[in-house]
Amino acid sequence: MDIGADLVALLPELTLTAAALVVLLAGVAGSGRRHGGLAVLAVASVGAAAIALKIAVDASDAGRVFFSGMFVLDHFAVFFKVLFLLTAALAVLMSLDYLARHDYRPGEYHSLVLLATVGMMVMASGTNLASIYVGLELMALSTYVLAGYFRREVKSHEAASKYFVLGALSSGVLVYGLSLLYGELGTLDLAAMAAALRAGENTPALLTGLALLACGFLFKVAAVPFHMWTPDVYEGAPTPITAFMSVGPKAAAFAMFLRVFLGGLESLAPYWVWLVGGSAAATMIWGNLAALTQDNVKRMLAYSSIAHAGYALLGLLAGSELGVQSVLFYMLVYLVSNLGAFGFVILLESRGYAGETVADYAGLARRQPLAAFGMLLFLLSLGGIPPTAGFMGKLYVFAAAVNAGYVWLVVVAVLMSAVSLYYYLRIAMQMYLREPAEEEGAEVVTARWTARAIGACGVFVLVIGVYPAPFAAAARATAALVGVTLP
């Protein structure tokens, strides 16, 4: 064991942790309201972490395990880490004007965002259930606090306490399942678990552990029937945090889901495919149907993000190389589309807190043609209409699932994505088809950095939609390596 090499592999996480502490101190030390400076510092530290990631990747050969098999830096992990860093940077940019407008301290806020990112990065790299769990808890605890960060708002309190209680419960379920697996197999290392599973027989305790673990994971990706917390938490949390939570932690949960279920527990697939498949179908159906009736845009997007977890689960079920690739690619697509859509909610949130009903969008196309067009783009991408990224993401996921023979699930998925267009187009309809005179629509606030972050998402949505090849190829390289460290 070479502690030097281990530390190099962990360099991005170490950098980001140090940066988070610096941001925290800077926030406390100053008079406390230097929004611009702290945001620059946070974004710079994300950039530094990206450079550190590059250094770490160059220094260590892919597939090698570090910290006695706890941690790996394969392409799979790197792809997700890039996603997380992107999410963090965009979330910080989107929060900049928002925090200033609502007058909350930026230091702790940015620091928590960075710490949550560190947690997610550890989750993507973990090859041992213990290290994955540590990452998960770091991420979860940071986001609990962030959800309740707007301490003067009751809704934010509500969101944080609901999120904390249910999140802690699900972590408990997860750890219980994990302990049962440990009791049966005698190891938490994924590679060793896979080997032990192939050798031994499947005892009831083992299967109970598997089921509990699956429930915990499904909770973390917000799949039905473990989705109840999502709409309330997403609605109550500060909108940039909702944007962050709907993308980052969800992608991290998928990273852990893929790694554990396809890496460690693949030989139990006959048992868990029904659980996950049933949950995927229920998630797609209920997520989309429930979104139909929502008048609050944040709640609608919350249900929509539930539904998107259902689509991504199809890729996990497919399981093949194509399946893993499709989930990774889908996460990228979902990241840019969903962050963009939430970005608009942030821009519109000028009248009070979280009061964006669908009607607030009335006539937006007349007053703000560019903003409305951008929102339209994100909505179409979430709905999967070409030529946006969303279509390509769905194409890959559906292709993987059809290839694996889950045609019935794909039929459910495509029909439900047709349903989803109804509620996405409700907003488009308000923006374009309603005359502004009819109702008083919300004004778009000027927030330069939020607008720029959204613009970047918009460019990605179009570029990935028209020319997805390089992005899909990046996801493919990672997918090819998911099993390498796990014999």
């Binding site: 194409l395 559906f398 290839n403 495509v414 047709a418 374009y432 493919r476």
Partner: protein
């Protein structure tokens, strides 16, 4: 890049997009003149550069011409392939012509939010042209769905009183159909390459590709079960678009609420995408399933023909009447296609063009009247022939074209379809012919109520006849109606080799049999040139 730009198909497809971008970036919302000029010039130029396709396409040559191939998503084998055969050349010309006419006809009908209107119209044009050109399934699907969005806005923003309902209904109906089609496409794709593991269907192991031409190669060998399910998936997608009975319910709403130009495009081009999908993909890719589906599809077509006609007869609203007449006419197109013989198929494609011309013109005519009186109720008119003689004459010609009077286009199309249907079964032809009779009834009855009799409504006395611009939106269509009616040979010549390729796949015995026992020659096709026109059938 140069290669990309020098391909005529790319030029035709993306010119409207370029026009839309120019309007977006260089015109201010208030600059009505500039916007209209850019839109008209783009659409007109698009038509002009699409005419050489007709002249340069060699029907006897390669199946797909003007090919343009490029890598797009190599990882999954999706390519950027454009190419046209005789069928698509005709439909592309129809699209560019109607595209231009719909821009030109909107000058006075659309008075608010003009910038967005012309942008959406041009984007729609690009989407439709791409559908007719794409030879890669993913590319095809992209264009197929892209075009939904501008149409949604055209109906939703500039439509009638129930526009919101109509727009979302149109969008969701067609979307549900097309997403199922996507599943079918994926199933075919994996059958050709790696197979569908979990349902125990091994693949052929070919390189993964969405190239339609490569899939044509494997078409006859596709196992029965897969053919059936894929056909069903395609059927839902295309039949909703056509629309076939009983999937037609979105059509009257969309037609009635859409602005005139929207209706023209909808009837003229969008409906043809469904029938084009059948003839381009379902028939040649899934021949066995197609043959098995014949009785069902024909039954639905005949029900559509008669039901559409009967419902049209009961309409009080002119636009609704024309909309239901489309259901009936498209029933004819489907009947001819599923006769699966050269007569039926070529009649079917020609009837697509005919329907585009005459129904497009009918919507324009109704739109002209609506602009003047803001009502489309038949009961609000009467005796219009006295105040609008030119309009009445044009309306008469188009009415005749629509009901299939000899010397006009409708006759040729319906006759060829009936010959094809008759070859299969006398009863098909008999039942379909009742549709023609009913068609004559509802069209002439409407004409009589609108144009003849007393000028009973005071408001109608001051109606102005069609102005020069309005005349020029209609004249090209009328000329074409006569051209196809009198001398359809060039059209059939264009279609024949492409049609024969389809027949050879879907019903090889038919061609074999024909070589031995000659099918009775077509009866005269109306007018002096008819004798030449019928030459399209037997000789080849």
């Amino acid at each position: 890049m140069m290669e990309f730009l020098s391909n005529p198909l790319n030029q035709i497809c993306y010119l409207p997009l370029l026009g839309a971008l120019v309007i977006i970036f260089f015109c201010k919302p208030g600059q009505s003149r500039a916007i209209k000029t850019v839109a008209t010039v783009t659409a007109g130029l698009d038509f002009v550069i699409s005419v050489p396709l007709w002249l340069r396409y060699v029907p006897e040559g390669e199946q797909f011409q003007f090919l343009f191939e490029a890598k797009w998503i190599p990882a999954i084998g999706a390519q950027y392939i454009f190419g046209v055969d005789g069928i698509s050349v005709l439909l592309i010309l129809l699209t560019t012509l109607l595209g231009f006419i719909s821009v030109y006809s909107s000058f006075t009908a659309i008075t608010h939010r003009e910038k967005e209107y012309y942008v959406f119209l041009l984007l729609l044009q690009t989407g439709m042209l791409g559908v007719f050109m794409a030879l890669d399934f993913v590319l095809f699907y992209v264009f197929w769905e892209v075009m939904l969005v501008p149409m949604y806005f055209l109906i939703g923003i500039w439509g009638g009183p129930r526009k919101l309902y109509a727009a979302i209904k149109f969008f969701l109906y067609t979307l549900v159909g097309s997403v199922l089609m996507l599943v079918g496409i994926l199933a075919l794709y994996f059958y050709n390459s790696t197979g569908l593991a979990a349902i125990g269907l091994p693949g052929l192991g070919n390189p993964a590709t969405f190239d339609v031409r490569a899939l044509f190669e494997i078409a006859p060998g596709i196992p029965h079960g897969l053919q059936f399910w894929v056909f069903l998936a395609f059927f839902v997608g295309f039949a909703i678009k056509v629309p076939m009975f009983p999937f037609h319910t979105w059509l009257p709403d969309a037609h009635v609420e859409a602005p005139t130009a929207g209706s023209v495009i909808l009837a003229g081009v969008l409906l043809k995408m469904g029938t084009y999908g059948f003839i381009r993909f379902s028939l040649p890719l899934l021949p066995n399933a197609t043959r098995e589906a014949v009785p069902w599809v024909v039954a639905l077509s005949i029900v559509g023909i008669i039901y559409g006609a009967l419902v049209a007869m009961a309409q009080k609203d002119m636009k609704k009447l024309v909309a239901y007449s489309s259901v009936s006419h498209l029933g004819f197109v489907m009947l001819g296609m599923f006769a699966l013989n050269p007569h039926g198929l070529s009649g079917s494609v020609l009837q697509m063009i005919n329907h585009g011309l005459s129904t497009g013109a009918l919507f324009l005519l109704v739109g002209i009247l609506y602009e003047r009186r803001h009502t489309r109720m038949i009961a609000d008119y009467g005796g219009l022939a006295k105040v609008m003689p030119v309009y009445a004459m044009m309306f008469m010609i188009i009415t005749m074209a629509s009901i299939g009077l000899p010397t006009l286009n409708g006759f040729i199309g319906e006759l060829t379809i009936l010959v094809g249907a008759f070859n299969r079964s006398v009863w098909w032809a008999v039942l379909a012919a009742t549709g023609i009779v009913l068609g004559a009834a509802y069209m002439l009855w409407m004409y009589q109520r609108v144009f003849f009799g007393e000028l009973s409504h005071q408001e109608n006395k001051g109606l102005k006849d069609v102005n020069l611009r309005e005349q020029w939106t209609l004249i090209p269509l009328i000329v074409l109606c006569f051209w196809i009616g009198l001398y359809p040979k060039p059209f059939f010549r264009m279609l024949e080799p492409s049609i024969e390729r389809v027949v050879r796949v879907v019903d090889p015995d038919y061609l074999e049999g024909r070589a031995m026992a000659v099918v009775p020659p077509l009866p005269a096709q109306g007018g002096e040139e008819g004798a030449e026109g019928d030459g399209h059938g037997g000789e080849h």
